[in-house]
Each structure stands twice: as structure tokens, then as C-alpha cells.
């Protein structure tokens, strides 16, 4: 016999479900410019508070304020805006192409464009990203050919991956974009290994690891933090917290830790939390962490606070698990609109130029799509050879695979 009351299991729930009024009153948002910018060689234990705040540069009026502001020229900001718009236009067309049956599958970046587009600009040529499936902005911002991306998505005869991989799981060594896997979190620890290799060789290149909020629950996330911490690997450990892992709200993965950035504290890692919809803040924080890594000062964990505006994928319908209008209530707004307003406030951009740019960019994407479709789409036109099934399993084809290829008639 016991005097204790029966135990009960705690299962976290999002504040609001479909039919309810979106409510983000629990999301504490720091004022733009309010968070200090530490010295690059700061001791992790001296900036523990940064894991619980949000670094922001753009205020409500569209001005860049505070110690993290002023790192990008007008020219660079205009390029950033253009890249985000290009990614959004690309998403729009590929989503439509999936609905038209030109590909089996697509995943959008809607609302998260600033994260990958700005981060890429803080890296140098030769650095390596270990992305998830939602970082195509890393490719776009590095001027990877849109046609090649589409060829992969259409699995056509010009697909650089010869039709072997599901759409959006790109690979480009040349553009510092490690081959994307369907298995979540695996690349996070691989990034640490790549960074360790760079350190072993006395190189100056750094690696960037990418993971979503949901996948931080995978064991490879924890391995990555241990190895990065132990070997002080030159790696930037990025967590894109878009609030949702398919239908599961971020509280399920986060548990009671308060923020995802706070996960880094127990590993002795400097951990920053940043407004993921603020292109300037993302760039500034990325640059800080990249410089820290490049100066051999070790890894940094960064949580990008953003919101997954679109469906998880073309196979998902978010209206069955969250309010339809939730994204409109998201307090950090839209990354494209915020940068656009900033540039207008600065007097280097205008509504007219924006509208014109939107049209130009869409034309560019449509032009690329036409070219890609000439190489075929999933069910029509040119496609990879059946022979390609058997190539590349090993550097040299072993006899048993050769026999199977011959059996298949090739």
C-alpha cells in the first residue's frame, strides 16, 4: 500500500488544434536589437542566456537595429531577396508540377527561405553543408542551375542522380551540398566527421550540419553534439525549428528543455537562438558561428526559430492537425516580406520593382522548367536507362550484379 496518488503520463499537446484560434502568446519574442553580440572567442558558459532569447535585427518598422546589424551591403541584401524569391517561385512551380503528375513528390520551403539562403552566403567555397530535404536555398543561393535541380525532381534523362533518388534529395559536391538521405539526422553526425577531417588535415574549411526540430530526437543528434564537443570540430550545428514535424508539434521533440538551443548547453557548446525569418539576423549569426569555427574556436549550435507555412510535403494535409490560418498569426512574419520592407525603408527597393522582380524571377523559373521538361518528366519523355539501376552500387560492378543486369536485359 502507498499513500501516493496514481501516476499519470504527460503527453504534450499544441495550444490549438483545427477549428481553434491560432495562439502564439506563449512564444516569447525578444525585441529586435535587444540581444548582445558576444566576442567571437567568448566562452560558451558566458552566453548561456542566448540559448533562451532570440537574436533579431529587423524591427517592426523594417529597420535594421542592434549589434547584429550592418553586416550586409544593399547589394548583398538585394541578392538575398532575389534568392528567397527564386526559391519561392521554384517551390510554386514544382508544387504545381507534382499536382500535374510530372513528378511523384515535392517538399516546399515556404516561410523558411531566409534560413538556407542567408546561411549559404556566410559560407565560403569549399565549405560543406550536410543538409536535410528542406535546404534547397543552399543550392539556389550558390547559383546551382535550376534546370539541374528540376532534372533531379523530374527523374528525367538528364537527372544528375540517374533517377535513383526521390525528388528533392539533391547532391552536389561542387556546391558544398552533401548527398541528402531519406533517413533523418544521419547527416548531422556525418557533418561533424567532415569537420574533424578538415581539422585532422590542417585545412581551413568548415562544415555545416542541418536538422529539423523533430529530428533532434534522433540519437544521431546526440552523437553529433558529443563528438563536436569532444573534438572541438569546426562545425556549425543548425537546428531549423519550424514548429512542426509532419503532424507533430515541436513540444513532443523538445520536451521540457525550453528551447532546442538549450540542448547545446549540456554539451558545453555555445548555443544561439535566432529569428529564422530575419535574413539579416540569420546571416549575422551564421557568420559569427562560421568565423568561430574557422578560427579553430570550435562548434556552435544555432536554433532558427521559424514556421513551416506549407504542408510537410505533397503527401500531407496540415488542415487535419493545425488551424488553417495558423501561419498568418506567426509572430515572426514572412521572411520575404520583411526583407522587402527593409529594403523599401532603406530606399533601395520599391513595390513596383518588387512586382517586376517577381515576374522576372517567375519567367526565369518557367524558362528553366521548359528546358528541364525537354529532358522528360517522371512519366513522359526521356528517362534514365534501366542500366543505371545497376551502376554505381560499387566502384566496380561485382559479378553477381553484372549477372542481374544481364537478366534485366542490359
Amino acid at each position: 500500500m502507498t499513500d501516493n496518488a496514481p501516476l499519470s503520463l504527460h503527453v504534450p499537446e499544441p495550444a490549438v488544434r483545427p477549428g481553434g484560434q491560432p495562439d502564439f502568446s506563449n512564444v516569447k519574442i525578444a525585441r529586435a536589437g535587444a540581444v548582445a553580440r558576444p566576442e567571437i572567442d567568448v566562452a560558451p558558459e558566458d552566453i548561456r542566456d542566448l540559448a533562451y532569447s532570440i537574436i533579431r535585427v529587423l524591427n517592426r518598422e523594417g529597420q535594421a537595429v542592434g549589434p547584429w546589424a550592418g553586416q550586409l551591403s544593399d547589394e548583398e541584401l538585394l541578392v538575398g531577396l532575389r534568392n528567397m524569391m527564386k526559391l519561392r517561385a521554384f517551390d510554386t512551380r514544382m508544387l504545381m508540377a507534382q499536382r500535374q503528375g510530372k513528378t511523384s513528390f515535392y517538399m516546399q520551403h515556404l516561410g523558411e527561405e531566409a534560413v538556407s539562403c542567408a546561411f549559404r552566403k556566410a559560407l565560403e567555397k569549399g565549405d560543406m553543408n550536410f543538409p536535410t530535404y528542406r535546404q534547397a536555398g543552399l543550392l539556389i543561393a550558390d547559383d546551382y542551375p535550376l534546370v539541374t535541380m528540376m532534372n533531379q525532381i523530374f527523374s528525367n534523362e538528364a537527372d544528375p542522380l540517374h533517377g535513383r533518388q526521390m525528388p528533392v534529395l539533391h547532391s552536389s559536391k561542387e556546391h558544398g551540398f552533401f548527398t541528402v538521405s531519406g533517413n533523418l539526422a544521419t547527416q548531422y553526425i556525418q557533418a561533424v566527421g567532415w569537420a574533424m577531417a578538415s581539422a585532422i588535415k590542417g585545412d581551413t574549411r568548415v562544415a555545416a550540419a542541418w536538422i529539423g526540430d523533430g529530428s533532434t530526437a534522433e540519437s544521431d543528434f546526440h552523437s553529433a553534439l558529443v563528438f563536436a564537443s569532444t573534438y572541438k570540430a569546426p562545425v556549425i550545428l543548425n537546428i531549423v525549428n519550424n514548429q512542426w514535424a509532419i503532424s507533430t508539434f515541436q513540444g513532443i521533440a523538445r520536451g521540457g528543455s525550453g528551447t532546442f538551443a538549450a540542448r547545446g548547453l549540456g554539451f558545453g557548446l555555445p548555443a544561439l537562438r535566432v529569428d529564422g525569418n530575419d535574413y539579416l539576423a540569420v546571416y549575422a549569426v551564421a557568420r559569427w558561428a562560421i568565423e568561430r569555427a574557422r578560427r579553430n574556436l570550435g562548434p556552435t549550435l544555432i536554433e532558427y526559430v521559424t514556421y513551416r507555412v506549407g504542408a510537410h510535403s505533397t503527401s500531407d494535409d496540415p488542415s487535419v492537425y493545425r488551424p488553417k490560418t495558423e501561419s498568418e498569426s506567426w509572430p515572426l512574419g514572412d521572411p520575404v516580406l520583411r526583407l522587402k520592407n527593409h529594403l523599401i525603408v532603406k530606399g533601395v527597393w520599391s513595390e513596383e520593382r518588387h512586382t517586376q522582380a517577381e515576374a522576372e524571377i517567375m519567367d526565369e523559373v518557367i524558362e528553366a522548367q521548359k528546358e528541364a521538361e525537354e529532358h522528360g518528366t517522371l512519366h513522359a519523355g526521356g528517362r534514365p536507362s534501366v542500366r543505371d539501376i545497376f551502376e554505381g552500387v560499387y566502384a566496380e560492378m561485382p559479378p553477381h550484379i553484372r549477372r542481374q543486369r544481364q537478366k534485366a536485359g542490359y
Binding site: 560543406m128 550536410f130 544528375p160 542522380l161 540517374h162 535513383r164 533518388q165 534529395l169 547532391s171 552536389s172 559536391k173 552533401f178 548527398t179 538521405s181 531519406g182 533517413n183 544521419t186 548531422y188 553526425i189 556525418q190 557533418a191 561533424v192 566527421g193 567532415w194 569537420a195 574533424m196 577531417a197 578538415s198 581539422a199 585532422i200 588535415k201 562544415a207 540519437s219 544521431d220 552523437s223 553529433a224 558529443v226 563528438f227 569532444t230 554505381g392 552500387v393 560499387y394 566502384a395 561485382p398 559479378p399 553477381h400 550484379i401
Partner: protein, 337 residues
């Protein structure tokens, strides 16, 4: 030539590879300063420094995951999992990542890594120091799987594995580390110094992955084995007086099918031996291949001798381990049929 144990041969392979190629790095749990719980990496850290040979946190997925990343950079990591029984936390990295990177990236990235792991039983290792998980690797396209049975092969195959452009699972039968073992646990162990295959060149040499070796030529029956079971099979042949041909596969994937087919078409009989559990073990693949390629030459059904379909027990070690008596009975069975 020098006399080496399998431990020394494995160490020599890593030593030579590290000396020849600055991109070879060696790490794992207790692998650095201490030199490994089986002494396989002794002295390597002192010779090559802490950034070429180092201790790792106890995280198998971390060890393999970082190795994959290092290979993506251009290094050639040769990492250790302390016991094959503990590779399971790394299974995701091995099967979904290492094995697939070349294929899924169309050669944009590759994964030239070696994952060494002590395997097999016969040492009172109980459930988690005795397993033979090779079938869990041979089922994975993109991996190579190697199991040496003696010091000479161990060194030549490990150097080949390190130089191979693809991921190699290198399973070292720990029962053979110090000497050949034929299953006669009641007799004292003979050291490798008293065995011909303990003669190992000190310099660089390779043994091709994918090539079997005939350990005993015979005409009555083909025995197909690898690792510790090669020695058990040889003992069983000796004791039964049956003129068997004993094939040491050495590589399970890719497999030397030609040598198997040549032997079985000659003898018309076949016994497959492994320590791993029977059901869906690698023996099933060999039996299927023999049936497909040698059907009209077979005089009798192919017989398998394997570990029972149970976890590896502790007290009943010698009732579990497929020793020369059981192998001998199988030989007699196929000869009488």
C-alpha cells in the same frame, strides 16, 4: 617473413596503411592510448600521433557516422566497433548511409571506410560477445563483407579493405586472434607461431577481396566455411577421414561463386558451415546458389551446420558452437545419403 598472431597481423596492416597513406585514420573505443581491448591498435597512436589514431566516445553510430563524413571529405577511416555484437546502434549509418552514398549521389560522393569488428564465439562470451552478424551485412547492397581465418589473410585482406573505394565490413574472429581454433576446447590452444599461416610478410601486400581459397583439396564433398569454422572443418575432415575439399570463402560479399561451383560440380556434395544462427543465415544464400548453379551435379541435398536459432548462451558454449563432431556428422550424412 615474420611470425605474427592475427592481432599483430591486423595491427601491421593498419601500421603499413597509415604509413603509406596520410589519409588513413584509425579510431574507436579504447583504440588510442590504450591500443584497443584486443591490442590490435597498440603503438599506433604513439607512432602516428593523436590526430591519426584516437579514442572515441562510446557511440557506435557516432563512430561510423563521423567516419562517413570523413570519407566524404577525402580521408580513409578504418574504425573499430569493440564487438560485432555492438554494431546495432550503427546499423542505420552502415546500411542507409555508408552502403548507399555512392549509389544515391551517382558517385558525387563515395565512402571508402573500413569497419573492423571482433566477431564470433567460442570464448564464453555469452549473448553479447559472441554473435556473428555477417548476414545482416551481406543482405545490404553496397557493402563488402570480409572474414579472415588466419594472420596472413587478415593482413592482406585488411590492407585491401583500407585501399578499397567502397565500405568494407571487416569481421575478425576473436577466437582466432591468438591461434587457430578447431573447436577442441579440451585441448590447449596452439599459437599462430606454430602454424604456416602465422608467417606474415612485414611489408605491404594485398589479398583480393572476392577471392576464396581452397584450404584442402578433396574429391568427396565440398565444405564451404569462413572464419573459425575453416579450422573446425579441417579438423572434422581429419577426424572422419572423408576426402573433403575445404573452401575458405574469406569474402562473403562479393562472393567467389566460381570457386564454389567448380568444387561442388567436381564433388557432387556440399556442406556449409557457419557459427551464426541457421535461419536466414549466410549459409542459406550459399545453399541457394549451389542449388541454382550445381543442381545437375548434386548427388545429395546440401547440408548446413550452424549455430542454433537461439541467442548465444553462456554455460552451454560447446553445445551451441558447431564443433568438429557436428561438422563430422554432417560430412558422414552427405556421404551416406
Amino acid at each position: 617473413m615474420a611470425r605474427m598472431t592475427m592481432i599483430e597481423a591486423v595491427r601491421s596492416a593498419m601500421d603499413i596503411s597509415m604509413e603509406r597513406d596520410e589519409n588513413v585514420v584509425v579510431y574507436g573505443e579504447d583504440v588510442g592510448y590504450f591500443g584497443g581491448v584486443f591490442r590490435c591498435t597498440q603503438g599506433l597512436q604513439a607512432k602516428y600521433g593523436r590526430t591519426r589514431c584516437f579514442d572515441a566516445p562510446i557511440s557506435e553510430s557516432g563512430i561510423v557516422g563521423t567516419a562517413i563524413g570523413m570519407a566524404g571529405y577525402g580521408l580513409r577511416p578504418c574504425v573499430e566497433i569493440q564487438f560485432a555484437d555492438y554494431m546495432y546502434p550503427a546499423y542505420d549509418q552502415i546500411t542507409q548511409e555508408a552502403a548507399r552514398i555512392r549509389y544515391r549521389s551517382n558517385g558525387d560522393f563515395t565512402c571508402p571506410i573500413v569497419i573492423r569488428m571482433p566477431t564470433g564465439g567460442g570464448i564464453f562470451g555469452g549473448q553479447t560477445h559472441s554473435q556473428s552478424p555477417e548476414a545482416l551485412f551481406t543482405h545490404v547492397c553496397g557493402l563488402k563483407v570480409v572474414v579472415p581465418s588466419n594472420p596472413y589473410d587478415a593482413k592482406g585482406l585488411l590492407i585491401s579493405a583500407i585501399e578499397d573505394p567502397d565500405p568494407v565490413m571487416f569481421l575478425e574472429p576473436k577466437r582466432l586472434y591468438n591461434g587457430p581454433f578447431d573447436g577442441h576446447h579440451e585441448r590447449p590452444v596452439t599459437p599462430w607461431s606454430k602454424h604456416d599461416l602465422g608467417e606474415v610478410p612485414e611489408g605491404h601486400y594485398t589479398i583480393p577481396i572476392g577471392k576464396a581459397e581452397i584450404r584442402r583439396t578433396g574429391f568427396a564433398v565440398s565444405v564451404i566455411a569462413y572464419g573459425t569454422m575453416v579450422h573446425v572443418a579441417l579438423a572434422a575432415v581429419e577426424e572422419t577421414g572423408i576426402d573433403a575439399e575445404v573452401i575458405d570463402l574469406r569474402s562473403l560479399l562479393p562472393l567467389d561463386l566460381d570457386t564454389i561451383v567448380q568444387s561442388v560440380t567436381k564433388t557432387g556434395r556440399c556442406v556449409v558451415v557457419h557459427e551464426a544462427t541457421l535461419t536466414s543465415g549466410f549459409g542459406a544464400e550459399i545453399v541457394a546458389l549451389v542449388q541454382e548453379h550445381c543442381f545437375y551435379h548434386l548427388e545429395t541435398p546440401v547440408v548446413r551446420v550452424a549455430g542454433w536459432d537461439t541467442p548465444y548462451p553462456h554455460a552451454q558454449e560447446w553445445d551451441y558452437f558447431p564443433g568438429p563432431l557436428r561438422v563430422g556428422r554432417a560430412l558422414a550424412e552427405v556421404m551416406e545419403a
